[in-house]
Each structure stands twice: as structure tokens, then as C-alpha cells.
């Protein structure tokens, strides 16, 4: 115990700079697939830490001051658009809301696995989520056409809140990157896909029955492919209750299978 404290004190003394801030080392994965001279490698950068420094700030400083070719993605920089998912010290999360003060002085950054690499820390989540959306037909299959002269159908606010809860997924891909199955089996719907299915399943405006969903959900590319590691729920930046989503889908799929067997 005493030794550990001693060591960390030494660490702190060694790394605190003149203005009280740490000198950070970033180890960043580099590879530009379009450059024949580029090979995958780790590259180091050092940066003086600032108060409340986010990785949005840090990566932009590195690109603007040290390495203008560094590729990464940010848009909203307020954790709502889902652009900046990456592996930060081995854990998938949103870079824009990650404060350096919560990290070690050496910060390792990799692109999210399970997605096609565009370059360095930038991956093609857009194509993956588009394909998922098409596969689960991620729109309300409504009863009838919209009537512009009618007032809205009433809905219980409790239900609206529940749908909103599941609609909050920002498609950042962190859960996909954390998923043991999605990383090894390309067809797996993955947690974000399951959550999307559950969102439409619970929406009474959508006319699809459990039976319609059966083929999408009740296979090893769907909910029964999950091997139960549940890292997805741990890493989800929006704290979606993915455990509950899986339980809900399993229950619905089993119910539907039971009905099918009896008839």
C-alpha cells in the first residue's frame, strides 16, 4: 500500500510541468490505406495538458500544430452526433466528451474495430448503420397514410418516454466495437441493431407483428447470437439499457416461436 502511494507520488512529481499541468503522451494508430507508402503503426505525440481538456481539443491541437495529416472525425463536439467513437486506452467511447484528466498520462488511441477503416482514427460507421437500417427496415410501418387535416393520435406519455429512451441511440458504434460477436461475425445485428428493432417493436404506430420480426431477430445473427458478455451496456455513451433490450427481444422471439410451433 505504502509503496504504491510512493510510486504514484513520484509519477505525479515527474509529470507535472511548470504550470501545474501534465505532459501527455499520445500513442496514436496511423495508417492511410490510400497511401502506398503508409503501413499500420503507432505514432507518439506529446502535448501539454490544459484544464478541462477534452480529446476533441487535444486531437485538434495535435493535428493543427504537429501533424496536419492526422485523420479523425468530430462534428457536434457535444456527445450527440456520434461521430467520434474511438478506442481510448482500449475502451470504445466518444472522444469529444472524454477529459484527459480522467486518463493516464500516456493515452493510447485506436480506431473502432468492426468497421471499415478510412484512415488513422476514422472509420466508416455510416455505411454499417445504413445497411443495418435497411435490414431492419428502421422506419414506422404505419397503418395508413398521413392525413394532414387530422389531429395527432393520442399516446400515453409513459410510452412516449419509453420509446424516446430507446430512440436515444446516436449510432456511434461503440457497442458494436465492444461486441465479441460483431467483431467476429459480419452479419450479426449487434446491440445497436437490436436496440433499433426493439424501438420499433414497442411502438404501437408500427404494424409489424412479432411474427414479422421473427426472422430478423430469432437467429444467431439476431438476439440468439449474443454470447452474453454485455460489454455493450458498459460502454454505451448514452447509457442505453441494452441488457433489458436483449431480454425483451428474447422474450418476444420465444413467445413468437411458441405460437408458431403450436399452430
Amino acid at each position: 500500500m505504502t509503496d504504491a502511494t510512493e510510486v504514484s507520488k513520484t509519477e505525479v512529481t515527474r509529470t507535472v510541468g511548470a504550470n501545474g499541468a501534465r505532459q501527455l503522451t499520445f500513442e496514436i494508430f496511423r495508417f492511410n490505406p490510400l497511401d502506398p507508402d503508409s503501413a499500420p503503426r503507432m505514432q507518439n505525440y506529446t502535448l501539454q495538458e490544459e484544464p478541462y481538456m477534452t480529446l476533441y481539443r487535444a486531437l485538434n491541437k495535435i493535428r493543427e500544430e504537429q501533424d496536419p495529416g492526422l485523420q479523425f472525425d468530430f462534428a457536434c463536439r457535444s456527445a450527440v452526433c456520434g461521430s467520434c467513437g474511438m478506442m481510448i486506452n482500449g475502451r470504445p467511447t466518444l472522444a469529444c466528451k472524454t477529459l484527459t484528466s480522467d486518463l493516464t498520462e500516456t493515452i493510447r488511441l485506436h480506431p473502432l474495430p468492426a468497421f471499415k477503416l478510412i484512415g488513422d482514427l476514422s472509420v466508416d460507421t455510416g455505411t454499417w448503420f445504413r445497411e443495418m437500417g435497411q435490414r431492419v427496415q428502421a422506419w414506422v410501418h404505419e397503418r395508413e397514410a398521413f392525413d394532414p387535416d387530422a389531429i395527432e393520435e393520442p399516446m400515453d406519455d409513459e410510452l412516449a418516454v419509453a420509446i424516446y429512451q430507446s430512440d436515444r441511440c446516436i449510432e456511434c458504434g461503440c457497442c458494436v466495437a465492444s461486441c465479441g460477436v460483431a467483431n467476429t461475425r459480419a452479419g450479426f445485428l449487434a446491440p445497436a441493431g437490436m436496440n433499433r428493432v426493439a424501438r420499433f417493436m414497442m411502438d404501437p404506430r408500427d404494424t409489424r407483428s412479432a411474427d414479422d420480426w421473427f426472422d430478423v431477430v430469432a437467429s444467431d445473427e439476431g438476439v440468439f447470437g449474443c454470447i452474453g458478455l454485455m460489454a455493450c451496456q458498459d460502454v454505451c455513451p448514452k447509457e442505453l439499457p441494452l441488457l433489458e433490450v436483449y431480454a425483451y427481444l428474447r422474450r418476444r422471439a420465444l413467445g413468437s416461436a411458441f405460437v408458431r410451433k403450436r399452430s
Binding site: Y52, P68, G69, S78, C81, T125, W139, D157, D167, I170
Partner: protein
């Protein structure tokens, strides 16, 4: 992928306005391609938080609401800078847009019948919500409105709307190219034929020819550098490529909105819904200064008014000290944990993630921050750009012009959907009547011009500035001298400093020459357009010698309806040295200019009658490039419909 492709409709921008427009055109049988800098669900529409205005009149505090009241609030909010016919089209159609989203699956917060507790003007009140309205769409209060009107899905309204609309785009099988941008418009003799594009995955340049081209690229907040709530992608490229044609004018580029509650110093938006739901603004002495300064509306005056009062507090030394500069406080503590983690959940998350605080325990540091671009590509009421057939614009990229010199909170989300639907219908009609008719030589000319620009950037050497230094300098000038309070000498200095920066672009040097998307080159290709937008904003502000809405001149404090009841237009062709300014009447006037009911300001009255003013509008706008509209000017205005709207709703007539 072919270097030159064709389609019926090309939509540049994959946010709510672009996608809603694409939906409408595709549903009417047109082949549509959407270009988007990011996957469409990451567009900045997703960041709209608090609400979408539509006069459904569902809850107790919304009783008696009507599109007439919404029209009045919007025109007053605009400080009479709006085109009133467009404001009318908008307010009449907003309820349909909200209900259509409900139909498409948006989980709007719904009305809970019976006793509900609210915080209104510093008091906790219990209101009995009517049982017969149970489960209908709920409203919250927003600034500058006579009734509770903002429809919302917690504090993620834009996200929910964008996901629903993008689902419809998926359903319709519309082709979306994400990580793609338009670098110039292909045009000749006042006709647009499509755009030169660049793929941000490969860096490849190509051309997409289209019968109709729509620009829906959002605002240009990033000309304010880091002093903006806008996403990094809001660089105004759509407005910039329209400006570069030299034919299409931009309207009211000096009309810039500052949101009262940007998080300080990161600039991240904290929704107006916080104040709508009862949040306070406090100064260093923990005084609710808005109560005394705006007794009628308090924290819920329009954004321009609240922002000015906040800067006034800071100027008077009542700001809270901070290494990045003084700020004020947003106090949500009395709203409680339950409310903040449900109806304002996104605000709670921002406080937790970026400040490490719980908003029911601690105060939030805020300061007015650039937020919205009222100006943009000047279009007629059908969305058709002035002076160029086949070019359309919708949403924040356009100056359609329902916002005039100040936009009301919640009106922009509603605008994207109302305009998207209307403009999309007209685009489909236009495309059905036209062919892609253009000479290959013309297209190759535009392509080669872009390729030459890229080659020049990559070839240039020397010790000139880098593009990020120029961007940062631009942001400092804009926030420092073209900000919330403006004055002639500072604006003149801004113009000369921005001109120097613009000139310095010729010596700016890239350090990255990597093949592929090259992030530094991508930014460099947008920077000239951004600087030109900054310049026309500063020059327009210098020329406008009055104060109207968000344009507040210390040296000309009165609104001047005698000389300035008009819209600034500016053209600046790529090859021209300097921009050309002109002016047009704001549009037909139905609600005569008067007091807004908040933000005590004086004004100089018109010296002609409304009838005299209105008689000149059509001819003067046509002279400025207004193209024929489907229906004659004024057909949708419904003059005088608002006359007894306030009395009917039990409001005092102003």
C-alpha cells in the same frame, strides 16, 4: 464511380431540410442523390434540443393558440425584418409538420392530464391539464411567444426528428453519399446544372449534373471560430458556393443570432427549454437581473434581447470571473433531479460530461454564443434562388426569410420541415419539366477549375501562414468586432483585418500532401468561402446604420423603419475583387411595424404608408432577381387574419 454523373435532383446537405426536401421529391417520382459531409444522422439538426414551434394549442398554457398568434410572434421576433408572407406560410403549416413527424414515429412528449407542477416566472404553480387532451402533444414555454407552443421530445427534439426523417429516406431508397461535399455550382446564363463534388473518403473530384439542385447545408457559425454552438461542419459551404456564382445574392448576412446560454468556455449549447421550464439567469451577486430588466417576459424575452442584457451585465462588472473571460450563471437547481434527468436529460448529460456537475446541485456557467445564421441564399417563397433557375435552398442555408433579424427559439426546426416539404414539392415539379441540358465543355471547365485550385494548394511552398492560423484570426475578429454589440469604427476595422486575411490566403501553405482525403486540404478548400462570408457579414453590418433584432449598433441604437425596412443583398463572383451590395423591400407588410413587447427600443417611423410600401415590393424584388413564383405574391398572406387573434385568445392587444 464515373467522373460525371447525372440525376434528376441533387440535394447538397443531409440535415432535416435537405432530407425532408429529398423525401418530397423522391415521393413524387424524382431520382434524388443527397450529398452529406457526414452520415446524415450526424448532421447538426441532431443537436437541436428544446423544441419545435407549432400552434397546436394542446395544454392549459397553450389554450387559444393559433397560427395567427404564431405569425404575430414570428414577425415581432424578427423585428419586422421577415418576409411576412413566408412567416404566414410557415405558421400555417407548422402544425402539419409536427403531426406528420408524430405519424413517422417521433416520440413527442405527451400531455399528462390532471395536476402538473410547473415553474413559471419564479413561482411554483400547479396546473390542471384537461382530460380531453390526454396524450396529445405537450408544449413547453420558449422565448418571445405568447403561448406555450414548443413541441418537444425531452431535450433531444432534433435528434428524434432527424432519425424519423432519415428513416423515411431509407424507406424511399434515396441514394445518400456521406463524406461528400460540393465545391462549386455548375451554371451558365442563369441556369444551374449541378455541382462539382469531392469525395472525403478518397479525395476524388467529380461532377453531378441535375435538373434541380438544392442547397441545404445549414448555417455559417464557424466563421466565428470557436465562439459558436455550431458543429465543426457548419462552415457555410452552401452559401459560399452560391455566392461564388456572382449571380445568386445572399440575404441579410449580417443577421447573426447569439444564443444566451452557450456553455462557457466550450460554447456547447444549453437549450432555451431550460429557461422555458423555469430556469433563471443570475449575475455574480446571484441577482435575477432579467426580472427588473424585462418585467413582462423576464428570462423569456427573445434571444437577441436576453443576450444583450447578459452582455450588459458583464460590461457592468457583474459577470463571474473566469480565466477565459467573465460569464453568468444559469440556475436550474429548483427544477429538481427528476425533471432534469427526464425532460431536460440532454442538459443533465452535458453538465455531467463537460463540467462534472449535477445541475440540481450546482450552477451552470453560460455566456451568449454565436448560434444561428438568419442570413443565407436568397430565395423566393417556393425556395427558388434569386437569379438562377434550377437552384433552390431550404433551411438555415436559405434566406427564405421568416426570421428577419432574429429567429425565435424552436422556429428553425419547424422551418426545416415546413420548407423542406414545400420546396421539395416545387423542386419535383421543376425537375419533371426540365432535362439535363448542358455542354460537356462547360462541365469540364468547372471540373478543371476545381482541380487547378487543388493543384495550386498542393504546389504552393514558402513560409506563409497555415490555414488554421487564418481561421483562428477570423474567429477572433468576428467575435471581437462583429459580435453582439456593434459599432462603426470596430466594424470598419473588422472589414480591413478580414480583407488582409483574405489576401493572405494567396500565400497560405499546406503542410500535408498525403494522398486521399487530406484533412488540411479539405479545410483549405472551404476557407476562402468562409472568409468571404465573414467579409460580407462585416460589411453588411457596417452599412446597416440602425439596430434591428440581433444587429445592434451602439452608434445607431434605434430601429429605422424609414430607411432600413429592407433586406441586404450581396453578390460576389469568384473572380471579382470586392462584393456588390444592394437592397430590396423585406416583402409585403401585413402587421405594421411597432413595439415588440420586450427589449425596449426606440424606432424611427416609416414616412410612407404601408400601401405605398407594398406597391413597390414586387417590382423591386424582381429587379433584384426574384424569379416567378407558382402563385402570385401575397396569395398566401391572408391579410388581416391576425386582427382579433389576440383578443380571441384572451391576450391584451399590443
Amino acid at each position: 464511380m464515373e467522373r460525371i454523373e447525372t440525376t434528376d435532383v441533387l440535394v447538397i446537405g443531409g440535415g432535416l431540410a435537405g432530407e425532408r426536401c429529398a423525401m418530397e421529391a423522391a415521393a413524387l417520382g424524382q431520382r434524388v442523390i443527397i450529398l452529406s459531409l457526414v452520415p446524415p444522422r450526424r448532421s447538426h439538426s441532431c443537436a437541436a434540443q428544446g423544441g419545435m414551434q407549432a400552434a397546436l394549442g394542446n395544454c392549459f398554457k397553450a389554450a387559444g393558440d393559433s397560427p395567427d398568434l404564431h405569425f404575430l410572434d414570428t414577425v415581432r421576433g424578427s423585428d419586422w425584418g421577415a418576409d411576412q408572407e413566408v412567416a404566414r406560410i410557415f405558421s400555417d403549416n407548422a402544425p402539419v409538420a409536427v403531426r406528420e413527424l408524430a405519424h413517422m414515429g417521433v416520440p413527442w412528449t405527451r400531455l399528462r392530464p390532471g395536476s402538473n407542477q410547473y415553474h413559471i416566472k419564479g413561482e411554483t404553480v400547479i396546473i390542471e391539464e384537461p382530460a380531453e387532451k390526454a396524450g396529445l402533444i405537450m408544449h413547453r414555454d420558449f422565448g418571445g411567444t405568447a403561448k406555450w407552443r414548443a413541441c418537444y421530445a425531452a431535450a433531444g427534439t432534433g435528434h428524434a426528428a432527424l432519425y424519423a426523417i432519415d428513416g423515411e429516406v431509407l424507406r424511399l431508397g434515396i441514394e445518400v453519399r456521406d463524406r461528400a461535399e460540393a465545391l462549386s455550382l455548375i451554371h451558365e446564363n442563369g441556369q444551374c446544372h449541378g455541382a462539382v463534388t469531392r469525395c472525403l473518403r478518397s479525395g476524388r473530384v467529380g461532377a453531378i449534373l441535375a435538373k434541380a439542385t438544392v442547397i441545404a447545408t445549414g448555417g455559417y457559425g464557424r466563421i466565428y471560430g470557436r465562439y459558436t454552438t455550431n458543429a465543426t461542419i457548419n462552415e457555410g459551404t452552401g452559401a459560399a458556393i452560391a455566392l461564388a456564382t456572382g449571380v445568386v445574392p445572399l440575404g441579410n448576412m449580417e443577421a447573426i443570432q447569439f444564443h444566451p446560454t452557450g456553455l462557457w468556455p466550450s460554447g456547447i449549447l444549453v437549450t432555451e427549454g431550460c429557461r422555458g421550464d423555469g430556469g433563471y439567469l443570475l449575475n455574480r451577486d446571484m441577482e435575477r437581473f432579467m426580472v427588473e430588466l424585462e418585467p413582462a417576459k423576464q428570462e423569456l424575452a427573445s434571444r437577441d434581447v436576453v443576450s444583450r442584457h447578459m452582455m450588459g451585465q458583464i460590461r457592468d462588472g457583474k459577470g463571474v470571473d473566469h480565466p477565459g473571460g467573465p460569464h453568468l450563471w444559469l440556475d436550474l437547481r429548483h427544477l429538481g433531479e427528476e425533471h432534469l434527468t427526464t425532460k431536460l436529460r440532454e442538459v443533465y448529460e452535458i453538465c455531467r460530461d463537460f463540467l462534472g456537475i449535477k445541475p440540481w446541485e450546482e450552477l451552470i456557467p453560460v455566456r451568449p454564443t454565436q448560434h444561428y445564421s438568419m442570413g443565407g441564399i436568397r430565395v423566393n417563397k417556393d425556395g427558388q434562388a434569386y437569379g438562377m433557375r434550377g437552384l433552390f435552398a431550404a433551411g438555415e442555408a436559405a434566406c427564405w426569410d421568416m426570421h428577419g433579424f432574429n429567429r425565435l427559439g424552436g422556429n428553425s426546426l419547424a422551418e426545416t420541415l415546413v420548407a423542406g416539404r414545400i420546396v421539395g414539392g416545387y423542386v419535383a415539379e421543376f425537375a419533371a419539366d426540365h432535362q439535363v441540358e448542358t455542354e460537356t465543355g462547360l462541365v469540364l471547365g468547372f471540373l478543371q477549375e476545381t482541380e487547378q485550385t487543388i493543384a495550386d494548394w498542393l504546389a504552393r511552398d514558402g513560409d506563409g501562414p497555415n490555414v488554421y492560423q487564418i481561421r483562428d484570426a477570423m474567429g477572433e475578429i468576428m467575435m471581437g468586432k462583429v459580435g453582439i454589440f456593434r459599432q462603426g469604427d470596430e466594424l470598419a476595422a473588422a472589414v480591413s483585418e478580414l480583407s488582409a486575411l483574405h489576401a493572405s490566403l494567396d500565400t497560405a501553405v499546406l503542410r500535408c500532401r498525403d494522398p486521399g482525403p487530406n484533412p488540411e486540404l479539405s479545410f483549405a478548400l472551404r476557407l476562402k468561402g468562409m472568409l468571404r462570408l465573414a467579409l460580407v457579414c462585416a460589411k453588411g453590418a457596417l452599412a446597416r446604420e440602425e439596430s434591428r433584432g440581433a444587429h445592434s449598433r451602439i452608434d445607431f441604437p434605434a430601429r429605422d423603419d424609414r430607411n432600413w425596412l429592407k433586406r441586404t443583398l450581396v453578390r460576389w463572383g469568384a473572380e471579382e475583387e470586392t462584393p456588390r451590395f444592394s437592397y430590396e423591400p423585406v416583402g409585403l407588410i401585413d402587421l405594421p411595424p411597432g413595439d415588440r413587447g420586450y427589449g425596449h427600443s426606440s424606432h424611427v417611423d416609416m414616412d410612407i404608408s404601408l400601401q405605398q410600401y407594398n406597391e413597390t415590393v414586387l417590382a423591386q424584388q424582381q429587379e433584384q432577381g426574384l424569379l416567378p413564383t407558382r402563385e402570385p405574391m401575397g396569395a398566401s398572406l391572408r391579410p388581416g387574419a391576425w386582427h382579433d387573434a389576440e383578443a380571441r385568445a384572451g391576450l391584451a392587444k399590443t
